[in-house]
């Protein structure tokens, strides 16, 4: 059915887009760990001793999960990881906004200075929807390794 194929490919393309966003954001953060650590500190949520270790690990989870998602390997599991990250990021954004902090997001690394705000939260909600679709429909088109092919 033509309609089904359209749906399959839409889901797959959304997955690829989310994967690329995560790979890109992760690499930007890895490129400037100090800047990312500073961004985390600006949120004033984590205690000082957890800031750097978080800044070191999070971007690599983004890159690894994003890459696997891009290739179509373990789509469900990687979508779960990405969903968890998105929920944490969005919660941090909401807390920072509630506190009235006027800070840079740090979402795509420190170099892409973008203010925290409602727009960023809405963007994250859109990504959350894509991640949930990935969890619900892990057998997809456009996978480059056989494991989850439709």
């Amino acid at each position: 059915m033509k309609k089904d194929i359209l749906v399959y490919y839409t889901i797959a393309i959304l997955r690829l887009y989310l994967a690329l966003i995560f790979i890109f954001s992760g690499l930007e953060k890895i490129n400037d760990l100090n800047g990312f650590a500073q961004s985390i500190e600006n949120y004033k949520i984590l205690p000082l001793y957890l800031i750097n270790i978080t800044a070191i690990i999070i971007p690599w989870i983004e890159v690894v999960a994003g890459s696997l998602l891009l290739l179509g390997i373990w789509i469900k599991e990687n979508s779960v990881i990405i969903l968890a990250l998105l929920l944490v990021f969005t919660a941090a954004l909401i807390i920072a906004l509630a506190k009235g902090l006027n800070i840079n997001c740090g979402c795509q690394g420190a170099a892409y200075a973008k203010r925290i705000g409602i727009a960023k939260i809405l963007e994250n909600i859109a990504y959350i929807i894509v991640a949930v679709v990935g969890i619900k429909y892990p057998r997809q088109k456009l996978t480059f390794l056989n494991s989850s092919r439709l």
Partner: protein, 177 residues
């Protein structure tokens, strides 16, 4: 639409796979941080700040590179003497909204040692670095970086923009500086 339902026929989430992915990422991240020249310490160091005892010694060079802070009274005195250059460590948006009169903007967020504005500042210039208030940390970090670069007369004004505004001292809005 029945076919779409087939998409949903899958096994449950395999938490072991999630664990593998996370474990792999953690190992990779720690390894990268260890070998990379841009790696950071695992535990972030709190910064120790001394207060500047007297404004009279502001011109003395202290090679220990310890962060030194000035109070509002000292900041006003230096501002009036026009001996120092005020540096706003916040980003361009905050700077455009309002900044201490005559201040230049060097955002710590995107700091680059080859900054064009910085290149024009002689190393013996007295610099007063500030950000939004005492809770912000960008001024302290920028001051550390400036001290490292050899701007040994760099001081942090901890009260920052908030205290300056409360004291109704001269400010400027957006400028091309």
């Amino acid at each position: 639409m029945q076919n779409i339902k087939q998409l949903n026929i899958t096994n449950k989430t395999d938490y072991r796979k999630i664990l593998y992915i996370l474990l792999f990422s953690v190992i990779l991240s720690l390894f990268y941080n260890f070998v990379s020249i841009d790696g950071i310490e695992l535990i972030r160091n709190p910064q120790i700040i001394q207060s500047l005892k007297s404004i009279d010694i502001i011109d003395d060079v202290d090679s220990t590179k310890h962060l030194k802070a000035i109070t509002l009274a000292q900041a006003i005195e230096i501002f009036n003497s026009k001996k120092a250059l005020f540096v706003d460590a916040r980003d361009q948006w905050d700077f455009a909204e309002a900044h201490i009169k005559g201040a230049i903007n060097i955002p710590e967020f995107s700091f680059n040692p080859n900054n064009r504005k910085l290149a024009q500042i002689p190393k013996n210039q007295i610099l007063i670095i500030y950000c939004s208030g005492d809770a912000c940390s960008v001024s302290k970090r920028l001051t550390s970086k400036l001290l490292e670069l050899g701007y040994l007369k760099s001081y942090v004004y901890l009260g920052g923009m908030r205290e300056w505004l409360e004291a109704k001292l001269p400010i400027e809005k957006a400028s091309k500086k």
